[in-house]
């Protein structure tokens, strides 16, 4: 009996010790996380892998704070529409939402997003030393700032990388392209190899379906990497029908038409991702966050064979894309919402989650052994670090302009018409210019 009670006491003692240890491990700073216990928050997020991870973790926040969170996921198009309708109506239905970089100004300029600096400066709400905002690269944090107001805290830092099939490049003795001219040369060599029966893969494809978040996005980013913008939003000038505009439109559509798989004149990211993972493509330009999809051994035939290098660029940089968490200016629970935003972007949670999605916004994470172990290759990490330091432009005009959606849709519709063979490149650029003039831009072509 005495022996039994000793064992029971020992077990209780071990449990207590483990509780103390885990509490010490989970350092959440010095604020009272329970100060808004009983509050209910509604969150709207884009349905994407990182948001799924967040959703799975939300019970931990509820346990830490006593705040109940309804975490709703929608596809990105509907998420944006629903947020905008909620913001514009002033209903304050959703307290917290994820906001894409390109949505920042369209939400911030009308005053829909709550400025976050006052919450950061309030010692009752934020332990600044623990939260460590300096961990964010300067350009990444700048992407969450509208004017002089911090309106969202980034949790991802995304940009394009060139994906290439390493086996094919080794087989043919090719090196990944660094400039747009290189890309065309390498694509031509790959295409010849396919025609000669040496490989089965098509050389290259980019997004060709019209739409601001499909072909429009990739076309504008390609142009920006080549030091050109189809539209000067600052001065409201259309450059679509300039010689450079025509040259880049031709470059983009020729690459896709000449080297893309059959039937790819209306492809989205999904189509490209599927073709790449099925081993039908030798190269594509895609987001760094997509590595998990390419490296998923259950679905991808090229898992472990994909190389990642910075995308071809000259005279320009790749527009940075971030996802951030923001608070609805009409929320009735702003302080509790800040606790949630702080938790979602905390050093603890980002470090814990980063190995699962690969492109964290906090720089300290990139040197953590757990993160390095989870990534596909050192080449992938190096390419990301190079991009963070040298390859991203957080001030790209077109990404930050509310009019971007309409402008990119109009220009990409013309790109899509060239792909379909309905229009020549010259006609498409002329029509894109006319469409932009109609919505208030001046043409830079006399």
């Amino acid at each position: 009996m005495k022996k039994l009670s000793t064992i029971v006491l020992l077990i209780i003692g071990l449990l207590l010790v483990s509780q103390v240890v885990s509490a010490a491990e989970a350092n959440w700073g010095s604020i009272d996380w329970m100060q808004f216990k009983g509050t209910q928050l509604n969150v709207l997020a884009t349905s994407m892998p990182v948001a799924e991870v967040y959703k799975s973790k939300i019970a931990e926040f509820e346990k830490l704070t006593g705040i109940k969170v309804n975490f709703e996921l929608l596809n990105d198009v509907d998420r944006r529409k629903k947020q905008l309708v909620d913001y514009a109506s002033g209903m304050g239905e959703y307290d917290v939402g994820n906001v894409g970089f390109s949505n920042r100004e369209e939400f911030a300029q009308p005053g829909y997003l709550e400025p976050l600096q006052p919450y950061l400066d309030d010692s009752k709400l934020t332990d600044k030393t623990w939260y460590n905002l300096d961990d964010y690269p300067k350009d990444v944090l700048a992407a969450g700032t509208s004017g002089d107001k911090l309106v969202m805290i980034p949790f991802t830092a995304e940009y394009f990388l060139l994906w290439y099939n390493k086996d094919i490049f080794t087989q043919l003795g090719l090196t990944p392209p660094k400039t747009s001219a290189d890309l065309k040369d390498v694509a031509a060599k790959l295409d010849q190899a396919r025609k000669d029966g040496k490989i089965e893969q098509y050389a290259f494809i980019d997004r060709t379906m019209s739409g601001a978040s499909e072909g429009g996005w990739n076309l504008f980013c390609t142009a920006h990497r080549m030091g050109f913008d189809f539209v000067d939003f600052k001065n409201m000038v259309s450059n679509a029908n300039t010689p450079k505009g025509i040259e880049i439109m031709r470059y983009y559509t020729d690459l896709c038409k000449q080297y893309g798989p059959p039937g790819s004149a209306n492809w989205t990211w999904t189509d490209i991702g599927a073709a790449f993972t099925q081993g039908k493509l030798a190269m594509a330009v895609g987001g760094n966050a997509s590595y998990a999809y390419l490296e998923d051994k259950t679905n991808s035939k090229v898992a472990g064979k994909v190389g990642y290098v910075p995308p071809p660029m000259e005279n320009g940089k790749d527009p940075l894309w971030i996802w951030g968490w923001a608070i609805n200016a009409k929320s009735k629970n702003k302080e509790a919402s800040w606790l949630l935003v702080q938790w979602l972007t905390s050093p603890n949670l980002i470090a814990e989650m980063a190995p699962l999605y690969g492109c964290p916004a906090r720089k300290s994470v990139y040197s953590l052994p757990e993160y390095i172990k989870a990534m596909p290759s050192q080449e992938f990490i190096n390419s990301q670090l190079w991009m963070m330091e040298n390859g991203i432009d957080p001030y790209t005009q077109f990404v930050l302009t509310p009019k971007y959606g309409e402008v990119a849709d109009l220009v990409s519709k013309e790109m899509n018409a060239v792909m379909a063979g309905i229009k020549t490149t010259e006609q498409a650029c002329q029509d894109a210019d006319a469409a932009l003039v109609k919505i208030g831009f001046k043409s830079s072509t006399p």
Binding site: V85, A88, P110, A420, G421
Partner: protein, 312 residues
């Protein structure tokens, strides 16, 4: 006010309405009337008021501009006029073909021998499109039938050494692809209505025709068609209204492309409203479209002398 009851064979009886009757009538009708006003009237009124503003979700508040949106759409936006014409033309062609195909299928089905032998199989086949959501059918067509690499259509075309059918190339492939899909998806509805109509024709008419030695073609042209004319008009009107507001199929299969080729009025309104966030402009485009649909349908019904029949 009096209520009149009676038919041809019974003498007319006139009741005077009491106050209780009046209350009963008012309270009985009120819920339906309210729901019609709330569900139909209020949104239409709101859309009209919105259409008079330059209201952009990304640049609130809206500014009253009168008929500015209407003028721009009708006189300064060829994209809208193209969408409007494409909508009407596409709906007319699609429904016309559905009526022709649907009639022939219904005519064959109404044959006594065919019905007695294959009725259960035929009914099942006809009902399939009703139980599958149009968006699912659209995805199926896009990926399993029309896709250049994986689609069955192109697989068979390649087998017999014909050029592939690529929806995303050229001016005509996309509209033709959607048209074929629409006919397969919607013809069963027309068939069902016309089948019911043909089945309800008095058999003695056909017996008389048979005695007079009327050919198959003449029986169809002189006996069947005149007897189901009003049913064809109803089927056409219903389908035409439905086809005018087609959205799912185009959105999924082509997204309105290539370029603007398959952009119809619904896609146009959604794009301006929820992608460009120009709500006033989108509302005006919807309101013009509503007027066009009303004019077209009423003209069609008047032409077919059907409107009078309803109002009597």
């Amino acid at each position: 006010m009096v209520l009149k009851h009676g038919g041809l064979s019974t003498p007319m009886i006139i009741h005077r309405i009491t106050r209780d009757d009046r209350h009963f009538i008012i309270w009985s009708v009120l819920p339906s009337l309210l729901s019609v006003v709330l569900v139909g009237g209020v949104p239409v009124l709101y859309t009209f008021l919105l259409s008079l503003k330059d209201y952009q979700l990304i640049d609130p508040p809206g500014v009253f501009i009168g008929l500015g949106n209407y003028a721009d759409l009708l006189f300064n936006n060829p994209r809208y006029l193209h969408a409007l014409l494409f909508t009407i033309f596409f709906a007319g062609v699609a429904v016309g073909m559905e009526i022709v195909v649907g009639f022939f299928v219904a005519y064959v089905l109404a044959d006594e021998e065919v019905t007695s032998r294959y009725s259960s199989i035929i009914r099942t086949l006809i009902l399939i499109p009703f139980v599958v959501a149009p968006v699912v059918v659209s995805y199926t067509y896009k990926t399993l039938i029309y896709d250049v690499t994986f689609g069955y259509l192109n697989y068979f075309l390649k087998l017999i050494h014909l050029p592939v059918f690529d929806l995303s190339r050229g001016m005509y492939n996309a509209p033709i692809g959607i048209l074929l899909m629409e006919i397969v998806l919607r013809t069963p509805f027309v068939t069902l209505i016309l089948y019911a109509g043909i089945s309800s024709i008095d058999a003695s008419i056909f017996d008389a025709g048979a005695i007079d030695g009327v050919s198959w073609w003449k029986r169809m042209y002189l006996l069947t068609l005149p007897n189901i004319k009003s049913i064809i008009v109803v089927a056409f009107a219903f389908r035409f209204m439905d086809a005018l507001k087609m959205f799912d199929e185009i959105y999924v299969v082509t997204g309105g492309g290539p370029g603007y080729v398959t952009e119809n009025a619904s896609i146009f309104a959604v794009r301006y409203g929820f992608e460009y966030f120009r709500m006033g402009y989108a509302a005006a485009s919807s309101f013009i479209f509503l007027m066009v649909v009303l004019v077209l349908i009423l003209s069609f019904l008047r032409w077919s002398k059907f409107a009078g029949g309803i109002s009597e």
